[in-house]
Amino acid sequence: MAGHSDVSDPPRTTPLERGEGSADFARIETPLKRFVLAYRSDGVAVGALAVLCVIVVAAVLCPWIAPQNPYDLSVLDVMDSRLAPGERSGDGRFTFWLGSDEQGRDILSAILYGVRTSLAVGIGSTLLALAIGLTLGLTAAYAGGRAQVLIMRVADIQLSFPPILIALILLALTGPGVGKIIVALVAVQWAYYARTARSTALVELGKEYIEAARGLRLSALRITFRHLLPNCVPPLTIVCAMQVAAAISLEATLSFLGLGLPPTEPSLGLLISNGSQYLMSGKYWISVFPGVALLVLIVSINLVADHLRDVLNPRLQVH
């Protein structure tokens, strides 16, 4: 219980920089505080997080901040189709800052709506896959025996196929649709979580606090959820962050191929696919701007994930 003064005077350096001797300091900081301090050490990652926050806020608020609702057919005017960026609408009341597509849709608004769909599908499928993978992974680690062999064998077999092939098989079987693409993305992702959860849990299960909890005759459920699970959070967070980016990219790719979201849903992949027909005639904006939006979204998530890996990786913190 040493180092009480730490609370009033937080260390200026990160746990990474302070090195090994700071085990006592680290213990009395809250994990969140330690995490924030370590995260702030990299400017690029902080910037990426800021960009990501702006994107998320803009996407969530898109019905209020978008210049038009691009999926409300009553506000679209065919006379405004394929206008170049910066041109005004036929009635002169509206400026298409990023141009318009063949249906007279404002590209900027379509991007905001599309990003919202991408985020919803990406995050939704990741959380669902996390829940399934975590349950199976922890079950495998805790139960051992046949259950473990079966679960891990299925996960291994699945991971030996590229994600796009698995998604393709499922979507070729079921056809496009929001629910179906989420199912496909969950099917692609769950094995990563199951594997990470199991391997982390196996390490944690060998530690003394679990032995202590067992000695107290706590129930298996309680040990799993109250003691084991919180200690599996850091590695799973990293996998989650990387998987959200991968899921968004895969969804856009599948939608681009016409296998993902139906044409009635706002989607960056579909926007890019529609615009690709006009690339040859020099009408670049229909494909390019949604692509840039997708790129910024994925790169910022990846940069955040990359830095999270450095911050949360206990192996790197020891040095």
């Binding site: 590229p162 796009i164 098989i169 070729a172 079987l173 856009a252 191929l257």
Partner: protein, 325 residues
């Protein structure tokens, strides 16, 4: 060892069987092909005859039985759209896909290994940092979008390379290839670079981390102490040691390249298996979809089996832990 081999082969067979069941039932339970392949103007009798000819009036399990027997003899049904055997249709397009995938593989190794080495040697220099930045970008850039941007830049604006098709092909050992003709090579450049993008980023990362690790090893210190020139230490001692893990991962990535060729082929209208499957899904040409999925899954199962067996020979711990589990 024998037990391990038999176990792995058995596992592969189970995977193939489950896949065949899943693919078949899924594909044949979705939509109604009768509406797509038989014109609404035909008479009732013509309709019935066409349904019987395609075997669509049989119960699903009978159709599956026929399909499984056919699959074992290499006959996966006839394409509804082309009315040629589905397997022939796919195998005709296999060389184009393989050519694309191999070109992309070679390209990613040829670019990725030197860049990865360079990034490791200049770790804290701006060169190393910008190479790593590029590799993060390579991971993040959606392949299909980069493909479109390549077309916009190199085909539309600069007019350097054509944007679609294989161009002129010439027969090499009876297989039509683009790479041997000047026109074909020009057609190959953009799709191969596009497909190589992700893999190049991967090779850069693997080579860099491998090199950084190798540079700390005793044998590098020893070579330095011996007074060997830096170029020889890097080019011979280090490179030799990092090449094995890098090449292993690259070989494993070959399957992923074939799968990802679906995207590239669709963008560049490259007449390979990937474009065929997307076109077939769009018109519900189910025998071709089934045949493609079965063929690809078989290829993957075989690759995985070979890799597993090779690993167990190289590293006995793999098969020991497997038996324990």
């Amino acid at each position: 060892m024998l037990r391990f081999v038999i176990g792995r082969i058995w596992q592969s067979l189970v995977v193939l069987f489950v896949m065949s069941l899943l693919v078949f039932v899924g594909i044949y339970a979705v939509g109604n092909p009768i509406d797509i392949f038989i014109s609404p103007e035909t008479t009732q009798a013509e309709r019935a005859a066409a349904i019987a000819a395609l075997g669509l009036d049989q119960p699903l399990w009978t159709q599956y039985g026929r399909f499984l027997r056919g699959a074992l003899s290499g006959d996966l049904g006839r394409s509804f759209a082309y009315s040629t055997p589905a397997t022939t249709l796919i195998l005709e397009r296999l060389p184009a896909t393989l050519e694309l995938a191999v070109s992309a593989l070679v390209l990613s190794v040829a670019i990725g290994i030197p860049l990865g080495l360079w990034a490791a040697l200049k770790k804290d220099h701006w060169v190393g940092r910008s190479i790593m930045g590029m590799s993060i970008l390579g991971f993040s850039l959606p392949t299909f979008w980069v493909g479109l941007m390549f077309i916009m830049l190199f085909s539309v604006t600069l007019g350097w390379f054509p944007s679609s098709g294989r161009g002129e092909t010439a027969l090499v050992l009876g297989v039509p290839l683009s790479i041997v003709t000047a026109d074909g090579l020009r057609h190959l450049v953009l799709p191969a670079s596009n497909l190589a993008l992700f893999n190049t980023a991967l090779v850069i990362r693997l080579t860099r981390s491998g090199t950084l690790e190798a540079l700390l090893q005793e044998y590098v210190k020893f070579a330095r102490a011996k007074g060997l020139p830096r170029s020889r230490i890097i080019g011979v001692h280090v490179l030799k040691n990092i090449l094995i893990p890098v090449l292993t991962v690259i070989a494993l990535q070959f399957g992923a390249l074939i799968a990802f060729a679906i995207v590239t082929e669709t963008i560049y209208a490259w007449p390979g298996m990937g474009k065929l499957i997307i076109d077939s899904i769009r018109v519900l040409d189910r025998p071709v979809v089934v045949a493609y999925l079965m063929l690809t899954v078989t290829i993957f199962v075989l690759i995985n089996l070979v890799v597993d067996l090779a690993y167990s020979v190289l590293d006995p711990r793999v098969r020991l832990s497997d038996l324990k589990g």
